[in-house]
């Protein structure tokens, strides 16, 4: 599974990736050391919770993916069978390509 994250990290513009459990605990990390992994994984769980709350009452369908665009970074969060795949990228990057790569990775992760 580590290879899956390493593959995503090779995509142009990607800064790092990790897999987080629904409880905010790290399953696997391929984030650069400059980032606090515990902090990032807690943020991911919090972001998913926030996204779910934002749409609660509108639709109770299953959460699949969330993309957060900031001034500094873009964040991609995908639902997988073992938790959430989180990918962080630079702002000026091909978001469509990263999304495609993430979807491929989700399929691989779901096979484990």
């Amino acid at each position: 599974m580590k290879k899956v994250l390493e593959e995503i990290n090779k995509t142009k513009g990607v800064l790092g990736s990790l897999i987080v459990g629904g409880d905010g605990m790290i399953v696997l990390s391929a984030l650069p050391t400059e980032y606090d992994q515990d902090y990032v994984s807690a943020l991911v769980a919090s972001a998913v919770d926030t996204a779910n709350k934002a749409i609660s009452g509108i639709d109770d369908d299953e959460f699949k993916m969330c993309i957060i665009e900031g001034n500094d970074k873009n964040l991609f969060i995908f639902n997988t069978k073992i938790g959430f795949l989180f990918v962080m990228s630079k702002v000026s990057t091909n978001m469509g390509l990263i999304r495609v790569e993430c979807k491929k990775s989700v399929a691989k992760i779901n096979q484990f």
Binding site: A54, I55, G57, D59, F63, K64, C66, I68
Partner: protein, 133 residues
């Protein structure tokens, strides 16, 4: 036709403003993948919407969450897209407005481009909107 919330503007300028919002609404709805949309101020005051109850409920909740994300990530979050099994939502902040779009599944990238198109086409109106109030 959607609802327009512009009670504070002068009578003379009301026509221009309403006409612009109507054009924007038609421009957005012209794209079949967008099933619903709301435009609000940064403070959550709905400006254009298909349904008043829907807009007020959704807009306040979405803006609150957008701010929570900005705070959590210590970055100014400008856009969030949330994808479910059968539909997606895009919440985008630009020119002191919040655009909330409900999209049929699978068309997020196209809709984002559509929104960019709307923003650039009506940039002058969005930027100077405060002058109308």
């Amino acid at each position: 036709m959607g609802l327009f919330f512009n009670e504070t503007i002068t009578e003379e300028k009301k026509v221009d403003t309403k006409s612009n919002w109507r054009e924007i609404e038609n421009f957005i709805l012209d794209y079949a993948a967008i099933s619903k949309f709301i435009i609000t101020t940064n403070e959550g005051l709905p400006l254009v919407s298909q349904d008043q109850n829907y807009s007020e409920l959704i807009a306040c909740k979405m803006i609150e969450r957008l701010e929570a994300l900005s705070s959590d990530f210590a970055d100014d979050v400008t856009s969030v897209s949330i994808t479910l099994s059968n539909k997606s939502f895009i919440i985008s902040k630009k020119f002191n407005f919040v655009f909330i779009l409900e999209i049929n599944d699978g068309a997020e990238e196209m809709v984002k481009r559509r929104l960019q198109n709307v923003l650039s086409t009506y940039e002058k109106f969005f930027v100077s909107y405060k002058d109308y109030i």
